[in-house]
């Protein structure tokens, strides 16, 4: 339809088409799918904004950033939703994002005072296993055990990068030794999360890198309590998912309204059982039943965006080095 509207605009009839403003939000693929938060979020926001919310998907978080870099200042996007703190430094470097004025009472284990990006959910990376099997309590115990794990490649997936930074945040310069210890536990490395999780469910591995909230899906949606996440004493690395407004948006007010809506109850209450992450602001009704069964890590690890950007390349080399032996 868009090209029709465009052609009509050329003919001078644009006024007739322009009554509903359109807000374009770029996000990752699983957000917009029927099973993600997208449909509910779109409906709830359109009820209050008097606008047409257009959600556009572009692969995962890293692909999303690449997309914005490709489009540059001419991007149609007004808001980008779905970067995480490992990507925000690079995102800010593009100079394409504007500051926000959202403030909220965040229910996150870390303080949030980023002027450019607003968080909407967060989670802990964790190794998920079958609940009836004993699980190691830290990376060293995992390395010493004969548990078989499947992880994701940091070069092609965001959880893979998260694991890299998890080990780095927990062990710093000791990270290469940890990886050497783990190398005989790694069954294989996959391109993305779906491949790895599928292999775990097929019985190819004892544990898979995922999130502490993964068992909640099985419990709530499938009434299956057979999956658990292993609690690690070093602490768990966090993924904080954020959204930001583009500086060149033609809908600055709507974009601000969307960011404010994002931390409101209507948005936050759909996150736990659609994105299967923790909401950034606890909804009025609290977390859904079943979330109380999840492990609560004693320590939350998160590298600042500057640290994450700085150690990323070196951590990748250490990882490649250890696993290529």
């Amino acid at each position: 339809m868009k090209h029709l509207a465009f052609a009509a605009g050329l003919l001078g009839a644009s006024a007739a088409f322009a009554e509903t403003p359109e807000l374009t939000v770029y996000t990752y693929d699983s957000f917009v799918s029927d099973w993600g938060p997208g449909p509910a979020v779109e409906k709830a926001f359109e009820e209050v904004c008097g606008c047409d919310l257009k959600l556009v998907s572009a692969g995962d978080g890293a692909a999303l950033l690449a997309r914005i870099k490709l489009e540059g200042a001419r991007s149609d996007a007004d808001v980008v939703l779905g970067l995480d703190t490992n990507l925000t430094a690079a995102a800010k470097e593009t100079g394409l994002f504007a500051e926000h004025s959202v403030s909220a009472d965040y229910a996150m284990p870390v303080d949030w005072n980023d002027a450019t990006f607003v968080p909407y959910d967060w989670g802990y990376f964790a190794f998920v296993h079958n609940a009836d099997a004993a699980a190691p309590a830290d990376f060293k115990a995992l390395a010493a055990s004969d548990k078989r794990i499947v992880i994701q490649d940091p070069r092609s997936s965001t959880p893979g990068l998260g694991l890299l930074l998890w080990v780095k945040a927990a062990y710093g310069d000791e990270a290469p030794e940890i990886w050497k210890g783990l190398s005989d536990n790694v069954v294989t490395v996959t391109k993305g999360w779906s491949e790895a999780y599928g292999m775990f469910l097929e019985g190819e591995a004892d544990m898979v890198l995922s999130y502490t909230t993964s068992p909640a899906y099985h419990l709530i949606a499938e009434e299956d309590g057979s999956k658990a996440a292993a609690a690690f004493d070093e602490g768990h690395y966090m993924q904080v998912e954020v959204a930001g407004k583009l500086a060149n948006t033609d809908q600055p007010e709507l974009a601000d309204q969307f960011l404010a809506f994002m931390v409101s109850d209507a948005f936050q209450s759909v996150i736990p059982t659609t994105n299967w992450m923790y909401p950034a602001v606890t909804p009025a009704a609290g977390l859904p039943e079943g979330f109380e069964t999840l492990i609560a890590p004693g320590k939350s690890l998160l590298l600042s965006e500057a640290e994450a950007a700085e150690v990323r390349d070196a951590a990748l080399d250490e990882w490649l080095d250890a696993l290529s032996q």
Binding site: S57, A62, A63, L70, S156, T188, V189, E202
Partner: protein, 518 residues
């Protein structure tokens, strides 16, 4: 052949070839031009190159090496269900990678059927991860294609030749020397080049079954350059390297496989009088059973996994299936529009470059093509509005190499046999195309169309970059279901995809064939 007058003009084919080359090289150029200062090649890239070449060579040799006896067995045996088996053999090739991997793992994995069977005898489970796992998966994907290509070579030997050799009482050795050997020498290099090139650009298979970062291919390095480093220059450089390798393999294959065909027969059904001995029969049975078990067991696993989820597929999955069918149909039309004139131009004997440009589609990285197209389209149009035609076009170009391998030998034969006759009757141009070329190409056109439609149905490559929520193909929907933990529904959608792809392949391939038993 060069220089001889031909009843068809090479011009449309050359134009099509230029279009294809412009698309592939143009997108690569667009990515390169957008690049900022890149880092160039590092030690890890050379390691990736070495691993890529090793696994692609092994995969090609093994796939084609196994395909030759399987194709021979299929060519000289008639049994109930044979055509169904041949259609089923095409299935692995069009599956989304993730579905195929999970299917293979249910058979060959640690908790798979084979390991369970070995466990009954107190043996260790099979270890699938490593170079051998990569090769196993690539053979699973490509053995069917190689078998079909070689089988077609057998079917192109006119029935009259077999009759003649039988009348001359030629033994198996003479049959081999006179007919089968020369045919294989023509067909095998092309099949090797195609499989080699397919395996060059593999990445999810190689990584997952390779066991880790040792199994890094050039395509993964392209991903890293694009996603992890946003180094477009390096992505373009690596993609160029991939193109060069494919072009080199293709040139070698074209050079080796040049040679005269067998001339043409009267399109009688092939009947064989040789290979009736018990030894030959059991050897053929061995190859057919072995290949069928290898290819069909993982498909059975996919089917079993998918049946429970098949019952309640959501409407969005059906909608995605509809989109996939539309893309596949459009893609097939585009493919035939490109491939038939290109095959005629190649057969008219003037165009090595045309044939080469038909091969390039194999080597192009979907990520680079998609990104390049995005860069080119973005300034002038809305990429999302063009998602359907762009996906169909790129899928057609990706399927072109297979179509060319299928169409060219037959086109050579048609022009060689009927060219002079038609010229002497003053039948040229459109009249020749309509009355001689197209009817005689029917079987091959059907096969090529079926393959293109099935490939397009299963393709994920470019659509991911252009998809908006309302435009999802079935493979994309499968990934979305998995990403939302709906593994059972994803398995159901995968089974639907398998059925649709097989169905479309069967209909088109069948529709093209008039040999009742071929």
């Amino acid at each position: 052949m060069a220089g001889r007058a031909q009843p068809v003009s090479a011009f449309p084919g050359i134009s099509a070839a230029l279009l294809v080359a412009a698309l592939i090289l143009g997108t690569l150029g667009a990515v390169a031009l957008r690049a900022e200062a890149g880092t160039g090649f590092g030690a890890s890239d050379w390691a990736a190159l070495r691993f890529t070449l090793t696994q692609a060579s092994l995969s090609a040799l093994l796939s084609v090496g196994l395909a030759a006896p399987v194709a021979r067995a299929l060519a000289r045996r008639r049994f109930p269900g044979r055509s169904l088996l041949i259609a089923l053999l095409g299935a692995p090739f069009i599956l989304p990678v993730i579905v195929a991997i999970l299917g293979l793992l249910s058979v060959f994995g640690r908790a798979g059927w084979l390991s369970s069977l070995l466990g009954l005898f107190g043996l260790e489970p099979v270890q699938i991860y490593g170079l051998h796992g990569v090769v196993l998966a690539h053979v699973f994907f490509n053995l069917p294609l190689a078998t079909r290509l070689i089988l077609q070579g057998w079917q192109e030997i006119p029935a009259e030749r077999f009759r003649l050799t039988a009348q001359l009482d030629a033994g198996p050795l003479a049959m081999w020397r006179l007919l089968e050997g020369p045919m294989l020498r023509r067909v095998v290099p092309g099949a090797l080049a195609v499989v080699f090139a397919i395996c060059l650009s593999s990445f999810a298979v190689a990584l997952t079954l390779g066991g880790g970062p040792r199994a890094t291919t050039i395509e993964l390095a392209i991903y890293q350059a694009f996603r992890f480093d946003f180094d477009l220059g390096r992505a373009a450089l690596l993609s160029g390297l991939q193109l060069l390798l494919t072009a080199a393999a293709a040139l070698v294959a074209l050079r080796v496989s040049a040679g005269e065909g067998f001339g043409s027969g009267l399109d009688r059904a092939v009947r064989r009088w040789d290979g009736q001995g018990a030894l030959a029969r059991s050897a053929d049975a061995f190859w057919i059973v072995l290949s069928a078990a290898f290819l069909l067991l993982p498909l059975a696993a996919i089917t079993l996994a998918g049946l429970p989820g098949m019952a309640d597929l959501k409407s969005s999955v059906w909608q995605a299936a509809g989109t996939s069918i539309l893309v596949a149909a459009l893609s097939t039309v585009i493919l035939l529009g490109l491939a038939l004139p290109m095959a005629a131009a190649v057969a008219a004997g003037r165009n090595g470059m045309t044939e080469l440009s038909g091969i390039l589609g194999l080597a192009a990285s979907p990520l680079v093509i998609g990104t390049g197209l995005f860069i080119l389209i973005y300034p002038i149009a809305d990429p999302f509005a063009l998602a359907l035609p762009v996906t169909a076009l790129v899928n057609a170009v990706m399927a072109l190499p297979f179509a060319m391998r299928i169409l060219v030998p037959r086109a050579r034969e048609v022009l060689g046999r009927y060219g002079r006759l038609s010229l002497s009757l003053d039948m040229q141009g459109w009249a020749f195309v309509r009355r001689v070329y197209l009817p005689r190409m029917r079987a091959q056109t059907g096969f090529a169309a079926g393959l293109a439609a099935a490939l397009s149905m299963g393709d994920l490559g470019v659509v991911a970059l252009f998809a908006d929520p309302d435009f999802a193909t079935l493979p994309l929907q499968i990934y979305r279901l998995m990403g939302a933990y709906r593994m059972e529904a994803a398995a159901g959608a995968a089974l639907l995809l398998l059925l649709l792809s097989m169905g479309v392949f069967w209909i088109l391939d069948r529709g093209g064939r008039w040999h009742a038993e071929a």
